[in-house]
């Protein structure tokens, strides 16, 4: 048994010893211990080092509010995390806990040199220096500051664990399973409501776990707790422990982070490390209790100086006596019980030092009965001890005068400055706070959310009061949901109620400017830092916080905010409510990134959409590229080919034989209804009225600002039915835009839109021999120039499959697009590949598609346009139905700057040396000799090596480009300037002779 373990106390299992490592050495604790309780059981108080001064620190608390005892925890490769609270981490055999922010070791840290020069490191010191010489900031000052800052060390390996997330809907969520929460859950559940009860600790019970002396409804508190949990379970209440309510979001959505494996020695299969619950509750009961305030005095941060309530928890919950010779320093009744309980557990309490002149007589009597020395009306002005507190110096205070001091030896100093409600989650709701002068603290007031506060969270004290309040709030919530509920009063014996007073810094006989009275332990913010901030003009509490970093440590101000406020208010000479509290931000306690990411990691980070034909492309060795959510085959390299070689071969095959391309990702929208043509006339720039069924047209879509949004070939299948295609990336956006206009502006139109993107597998076939391939396979259409000219569409069968066949081309070769129901796509692809093999059929990818369309000057929206390009800029004036009274974008096009001269227009570019390939994105100037900044007149939008053109080609947007044909422009690159000639956009077959369909049996 460890030296400080108290037999018969605590809820840990002394029969199940657990060995873990701390600071490189094995430490033995019991099942049920936290790292902190196990270390304390072994008399180890020194657990960490502070942020700025590297001062030695021990656990000051026993819960998630702990600012000091932060450790690095690890479980083998990849499973390590910094800044874990030793007070929350449960031990398991093999756990490795390492101290942080110290070098060479925890007990001797060279960084503590900062502590000697603390006067220099006053609040905001870094704003006042490190400015000269200027270059030293980057090279010297900042790296040194950064290396000194930070706490733990970031993980350096990928995390092998998994994380999960769920949605959960409930009538009532109760946060906090102390007496108030338990009672609220019970009452609401008995009213027939669905109830979820969560608690961040390993066990439900809250303060009951630290108060075994109480009897509730005639039962010892722990027996009552066991029975109550069983009753809740029977009522169907979902009780979730190790589950922290991290954030309170709109309309009663609460984020809950449930820790599932960090306490286990063996990781179970199929179990995530943590799970984020996004819970939506009709009503929320916040029963999070209260936090104990430290007292602010010189030396209040030494290891062994601890909150009295924490000492109680260590004793009762973990069976650990935090010291043999405690001194109690308090301004509140509650700490007296710590003295009594520790004395009863075998410690020798050196003294109870109460700042109040007249603490309750009953307590004084009890102390006397135990033979404990009581010093009432005293202050503490200093402590001693380097790695552990050795003594505390106390003085009587009368009428504001600090009397002669006395040094009292101790091995721990248990302090209490009273209690303040845990307001964090309430604060997330943007709830307002009300100042309570009696308790010298803020209490929750109004909130826009459907939420109530129960128990100590609204300033109540003692088990009886919080139980009653919880039951009452449970009934109130039930009633608001239309359920009757009764809230029976439970008799409580042995309850410990109490009151106290509040302080800023404790009175001292020393120069206040020399006192190191810590307010924010982790960030090393002292009371004099706060006063300095005020002196320097920081009047808002937010300024004080930001200037001093008070409340910005990883405990998020749980230990420091209210003390900081009291001191700042005092320094400002204003009442606390006039100063106000800084806003608490989610999460309630630091929460792992993995829990937020949930399932969205690696391959599941975001959906990867694949076409039905994708597996065939993969089998053929295609290289893919991401295009929006899709992945598309970019090229199909043969062994030994690089991209350029493969693409050149794919282009050559298409221009000489047949190329086959999976175009299934193109967006498709079926526009159906008697008003379909009217709708098309209004949406697209083109006129549609005269387009006959069976014919297609290139459609151009603008925004109402006049700029190009999308394009695609549109086929009219019937009088009242269009098959619209969009760009791959634009599919969802275009459909949404169409629905918007249809539903909002033109609800009178009888037309409906259906996404058919995924209804069809679309295979594009291009090349001079394509008719040879298709004629034997197509039934229902005669594939001749006369019967099925370019820009035709028909419903037919291809290879026996029902199909929509389009005669279109995005390469300049004779072209078809075969649409078959998506699941048939692979079969058709294979059939075409087999049938086309003798004809030289070659699959090609998006890269060859880009080359071939550029050779023909066909634009790609989003590459050759960028949201600032008009149809005229892109040379697409022919696609604009000028006679139409209106279409989306028509008015926008008439705005002055869209018609002004000098707009950037799409042109072709040929490098004058005939061999240089321009870089996409390269900028164009007229005068290459001008100094920087240069006047740029445009940029290269597309650039490819082109066998068909016999040289590299490019498209570019150039100021007034359409009027500059034949002019030379210059493209300055880092190493040289390239001269290029402006040309038209068509580099191949400008007469479109190759689009023609060879007659059956004729030469291709």
């Amino acid at each position: 048994m460890s030296r400080f373990r108290v037999p018969g106390r605590g809820r840990v299992n002394p029969d199940r010893p657990v060995t873990f490592r701390f600071d490189g050495r094995p430490v033995q604790g019991c099942e049920g211990d936290t790292v902190a309780s196990a270390l304390l059981a072994n008399g180890i108080h020194l657990m960490g080092r502070s942020f700025k001064y590297h001062r030695p620190r021990g656990a000051v608390a026993a819960g998630s509010e702990e600012p000091n005892a932060l450790i690095n925890t690890r479980r083998g490769p990849g499973r390590a995390e910094p800044n874990t609270r030793a007070t929350m981490q449960e031990i398991w055999p093999g756990l490795e806990a390492r101290p942080q922010n110290c070098w060479p070791r925890l007990s001797f840290d060279l960084g503590a040199v900062n502590d000697r020069a603390y006067m220099l490191f006053s609040a905001g010191f870094y704003y006042k220096t490190f400015m000269w010489p200027r270059s030293f900031w980057d090279k010297l000052y900042e790296p040194v500051i950064r290396a000194a800052a930070g706490l733990g060390v970031s993980p350096s390996e990928e995390d092998p664990d998994t994380y999960a997330s769920r949605y959960l809907h409930t009538d009532v969520l109760v946060v906090g399973a102390g007496p108030a929460g338990l009672a609220a859950a019970r009452t609401a559940a008995e009213a027939g409501l669905r109830v979820v009860l969560v608690d961040e600790h390993a066990e439900a019970g809250g303060t009951l776990l630290s108060e075994p002396q109480a009897r509730i409804a005639g039962l010892p508190a722990w027996d009552w707790l066991t029975a109550e949990l069983a009753a809740l379970k029977a009522l169907g209440v979902r009780v979730m422990t190790r589950t922290t309510a991290i954030g309170y979001y709109h309309q009663n959505m609460i984020g809950l982070c449930q820790r599932l494996t960090d306490h286990l020695a063996e990781l179970p299969a199929d179990t995530p490390r943590e799970r984020m619950w996004r819970l939506r509750a009709a009503r929320v009961v916040l029963a999070q209790g209260a936090l104990e305030k430290p007292l602010v005095f010189d030396g209040n941060d030494r290891p062994g100086v601890m909150l009295a309530g924490a000492a109680q928890t260590y004793l009762h919950r973990f069976g650990v006596r935090v010291g043999d010779r405690p001194v109690i320093l308090t301004s509140h009744d509650s700490a007296w019980h710590a003295a009594f309980d520790l004395q009863d557990a075998g410690a020798k309490v050196a003294a109870i030092v109460d700042t109040r002149a007249a603490p309750p007589a009953a307590l004084a009597g009890e102390a006397q009965a135990r033979g404990i020395r009581v010093l009432a009306g005293f202050t503490a002005t200093a402590t001693s001890g380097r790695l552990r507190v050795r003594s505390v110096r106390v003085h009587p205070v009368s009428a504001g005068t600090v009397g002669a001091g006395e040094e009292i030896a101790c091995d721990c100093l248990l302090m209490s400055g009273g209690w303040t409600p845990s307001l964090h989650l309430f604060s997330h709701t943007k709830g307002s706070l009300a100042w309570d002068e009696d308790r010298t603290t803020f209490l929750p007031a109004d909130t826009p959310e459907d939420c109530v506060i129960a128990g100590a969270g609204r300033g109540l004290w003692g088990i009886a009061a919080t139980l009653a309040d919880g039951a009452e709030k449970g009934a109130e919530v039930a009633a608001s949901l239309g359920r009757g509920a009764s809230a029976p009063a439970l008799p409580v014996e042995g309850d410990r109620t109490g009151s106290g007073t509040s302080h800023t810094e404790l009175a001292t006989d020393r120069s206040p400017s020399r006192a190191r009275a810590f307010v924010d332990f982790q960030n090393d913010v002292t009371a004099k830092d706060l006063r300095l901030a005020v002196r320097e003009g920081m009047r808002s509490i937010e300024h004080v916080k930001r200037y001093t970093t008070n409340g910005m440590a990883t405990d998020q101000g749980k230990m420091s905010n209210i003390n900081g406020l009291n001191i700042a208010a005092d320094a400002l000479g204003r009442a606390q409510p006039k100063v106000g509290l800084t806003t608490f931000r989610p999460p309630y306690t630091p929460t792992s990134f993995g829990a937020f990411a949930g399932y969205h990691r690696g391959g599941h980070f975001e959906v990867t959409r694949r076409t039905a034909i994708d597996p065939l492309a993969e089998a053929a060795g295609a290289v893919f590229e991401p295009v929006g959510q899709w992945r598309r085959a970019r090229y199909f390299p043969r062994p030994g080919e690089d991209m350029d070689t493969a693409v050149a071969r794919e282009c050559r095959a298409t221009r000489t034989a047949i190329g086959m391309f999976d175009a299934s990702t193109l967006g498709k929208i079926e526009v159906v209804g008697p008003d379909a043509v009217e709708f098309m006339n209004r949406m697209y720039t083109n006129p549609w009225t005269k387009l006959q069924p069976g014919r297609c047209r290139y459609g151009l879509l603008l925004g109402d600002d006049g700029f190009i949004r999308d394009d695609g070939v549109i086929g009219r299948l019937a009088h009242d039915r269009f098959h619209v295609t969009t760009t791959t990336g634009g599919a969802a956006r275009v459909l949404n835009m169409m629905e918007d206009y249809l539903q909002t502006e033109w609800p009178e139109l009888d037309v409906w839109l259906t996404s058919t993107t995924e209804q069809w597998s679309t295979i594009a076939l291009n090349g001079p021999r394509v008719a040879e391939l298709l004629r034997p396979l197509v039934e229902g259409v005669t594939l001749t120039e006369e019967a099925f000219p370019h820009m035709s569409v028909a419903e037919c069968t291809v290879a026996g499959m029902p199909a929509r066949l389009f005669r279109v081309s995005f390469t300049g070769e004779t072209g078809f697009e075969v649409n078959v129901p998506a699941p048939m796509g692979p079969a058709l692809w294979q059939r075409l590949a087999e049938a086309g093999a003798p004809l030289g059929l070659t699959p090609y990818g998006t890269e060859a598609m880009h080359v071939m369309r550029a050779e023909k000057g066909y634009i790609i929206v989003g590459q050759d346009t960028d949201g600032t390009v008009t149809p005229a800029d892109a040379g697409l004036t022919w696609a604009v139905g000028k006679a139409k009274p209106d279409f989306v974008g028509k008015r926008g096009l008439a705005r002055p700057d869209l018609t002004a001269p000098g707009r950037r227009q799409l042109v072709g570019l040929l490098t004058e040396d005939g061999t240089t390939l321009l870089e996409e994105g390269a900028q164009i100037v007229l005068d290459p000799a001008q100094p920087v900044p240069m006047k740029m007149v445009g940029h290269v939008t597309s650039a490819y090596r082109s066998e068909a053109a016999g040289r590299p080609i490019a498209l570019a947007l150039v100021e007034g480009g359409h009027g500059r044909m034949g002019e030379t422009v210059h493209i300055p690159m880092p190493d040289r300037t390239i001269a290029a000639t402006i040309t038209g956009c068509v580099f191949h077959d400008p007469e479109n002779t190759r689009l023609k369909l060879a007659a059956p049996g004729g030469d291709a």
Partner: protein, 100 residues
Amino acid sequence: MLLIHCPYCDETLPELEFAHAGEAHVARPENPSAQSDAEWEEFLFIRRNVKGPHYERWRHTHGCGRFFNAVRDTVSDRFLATYPAGAPRPSLASLTGESE
């Protein structure tokens, strides 16, 4: 995450099913070509950007697919009302219970 009542589905559902679609009651002019540049600018770009009850549009994208209108207090993010597209805008007084 907000909770939104879809006036078509008559259900109150999580925001993730919906897409915000900008200020409501900004009607596209009957004859845009007759608009001045300033009027067209107003239609395209000028928004009330209200702090307080805001008339706005949402689409129940992952549900019934309909665009509808809503009044939401942009300070609390609470919805005061939702109503079908085309319905007249409810008066604020009727929503907040205050007399004007």
